[in-house]
């Protein structure tokens, strides 16, 4: 029996208002923040997108990838190629990053979906490693040491740095909102319903006619363009591509896994909570260097041992309900006989 606090509807309503308030605060943030703060908030939004995507794969579709950084890197390289080498309109080049990531996800699927469960994690890592090494062999992209984004391209997003930071921020915010809303809708659709059923009981879900493979494929292909777009926006901010930084496993996979595991895997609240916590911790721990990662690693193990559903799992027990409902509540007349 689940514990339900007496004033549960009120608590949940307040939580939702806080969530909406946070979203509104993000909308007006550029008016109040200096470029430094805005840059950090842009990083926050990009990492949130990555966390939402990893959570969709690992928490719902049973695809525990350790190769997520590959698609971020592909997005970065595709953006550079489209904007600088092909001289496309820079906004079109961002879109191209998403498209290229999606195209590369198709052959990657051939390998990834042949591996089950535990093997899949390292298998995706191998694929990511191959893509990173291959990126270092590209002649027009500065080989292994990478290349800077020309000033002219950066200027397209704003003549002065302040304008540019604001433009990049709006792009990141738009991407984060799109990622969040569309993932939420996906999880509430037939696909998400099937995945949730699968998570609870794989055999029963299969027997009820849930097409497991199709749902997992949809999720895998779903994440690729978002990761690619995030890669393009990250490149705009860093103004440089290189195999080591654009395909950084620490920045785009390790941190993301810690964010989702600590925040709460298999919920939409978890990645949000985790990303906020990650940035708070980073502000205090980043100066500690390697201790920062040691602490995050330890924290993630402790969280798994205490509550596999993360901090949100603990909070949810206290709240007694979802702030962002992914499941569908049964209708009040569900199971009752039809009125004669």
């Amino acid at each position: 029996m689940q514990h339900v606090p007496a004033n549960q509807p009120l608590i949940i309503a307040v939580s939702r208002i806080v969530l909406l308030g946070g979203a509104l605060a993000l909308m007006v943030a550029p008016r109040f923040l200096d470029p430094g703060g805005l840059t950090m908030l842009t990083e926050f939004l990009c990492l949130l997108v990555l966390a939402l995507m990893w959570n969709l794969l690992a928490g719902y579709a049973d695809i525990v990838t350790v190769g997520q950084h590959a698609f971020v890197g592909i997005g970065a390289y595709a953006f550079y190629g489209a904007a600088v080498l092909l001289r496309l309109d820079p906004y079109l080049a961002i879109a191209a990053a998403g498209v290229v990531a999606l195209i590369i996800a198709l052959p990657a699927m051939l390998i990834v979906f042949r591996l089950r469960a535990a093997y899949l994690a390292v298998g995706t890592w191998v694929v990511a490693e191959v893509l990173m090494l291959a990126a270092g062999k590209l002649p027009n992209f500065g080989f292994g040491s990478g290349v800077s984004l020309p000033v002219a391209v950066a200027r397209e997003f704003g003549a002065r740095p302040a304008e540019r930071f604001a433009t990049i921020y709006w792009l990141a915010l738009a991407l984060a909102i799109a990622a969040f809303l569309s993932t939420w809708l996906l999880l509430r659709s037939r696909v998400g319903l099937g995945l949730t059923a699968m998570r609870d009981n794989e055999e029963a879900a299969g027997a009820m006619g849930v097409n497991l493979l199709r749902s997992r494929i949809v999720c895998f292909l779903w994440t690729a363009p978002f990761l690619g777009l995030a890669g393009a926006i990250i490149t705009l901010q860093k103004l440089r591509i290189s195999p080591a930084a654009s395909f950084s496993i620490i920045d785009w996979t390790v941190f993301v896994i810690f964010i989702v595991v600590i925040g709460g895997i298999g919920s939409l609240e978890g990645p949000i909570l985790g990303t906020i916590l990650f940035f708070v911790l980073r502000e205090h721990l980043a100066t500690l260097g390697t201790w920062h990662l040691i602490i995050l690693g330890t924290l993630s193990i402790v969280v798994i041992l205490i509550e596999p559903r993360g901090l949100w799992g603990l909070l949810r027990k206290a709240l007694g309900g979802d702030v962002i409902p992914v499941s569908h509540a049964a209708r009040a007349d569900f199971g009752k006989a039809e009125a004669p």
Binding site: A118, Y119, V126, V130, A134, V261, W291, S300, I304
Partner: protein
Amino acid sequence: MVGTYLNLIVQGALLGGLYAIFALGLSLSVGVMRFVNIAHGDFIVLMSFLLLVLSSVLKLNVLLVLPLVIPLAFAAGYVLQRLLLQRVIGDNALLPLLVTFGLSIIVQNGLLQGVGADTRTLSAGALDVASVQIGGLSIGVLPLLTFAVAVALAFGLDWLLYRSRLGAHIRAVTLDVAAADLIGLSSVRVYAIAMGIVGITVAIAACFMGLRMNFDPTSGPSRLLIAFEVVVLGGLGSLRGSLLGGIILGIAQTIGGQIDGAWQTLAGHIVFLTIFLLRPQGLLPRY
């Protein structure tokens, strides 16, 4: 020209012996506990540093330090399984994966903090450069020794798992934990012993890796990827298959490295992916 390639193939196959040692422990932990230990490579690197420190403190050849470290490695594997991994193994394959992922990052950064980012190697004294002439090829004694150890370890573990009493216990627990407990086996203890054996292979892998190649605190993941590729190439659960997988990967890397130094790693990955797509069950599947 033919001589050059024959030489490359022999050197590559010997390198493959080392890769097989990387893979044996991983193969065992995957086969028995049904999860891939993401920290496998980092444990190997951690052990290499331990061997480095001990051999300089005790002023002993690292090959003589290895027998001292082996009981320690068994105990470390046993305790790790008993106290941490045992709590998360079960139906949800996600949890042990994430815990070992956390361990991997902790080990890497702990080493960075403790010993710095410098690249190191182990030395076995005069043995480092000793070589023998076989059929016109000059072959290092150390690679030859590594290969011999790999073969002995693969057949030894195969015997242990499929011919011995302990192996029967381990396989019983692997097949059905509840049934094994019902007939009086302590599954917790059996798992811990199995992980202890993995620890032994890690220590041996660490010794020969350090003698053969450079390592630094962040070398673990690349060793994990090699071990993983060897396990999948050989066929899941097949210890002798690991030997074959290691040899193929070693040859692919050596020939790739000959064409262009930068292609060594990539050539290994590409050969792995190609064989995997053609034969996903591996070359010598056990089941």
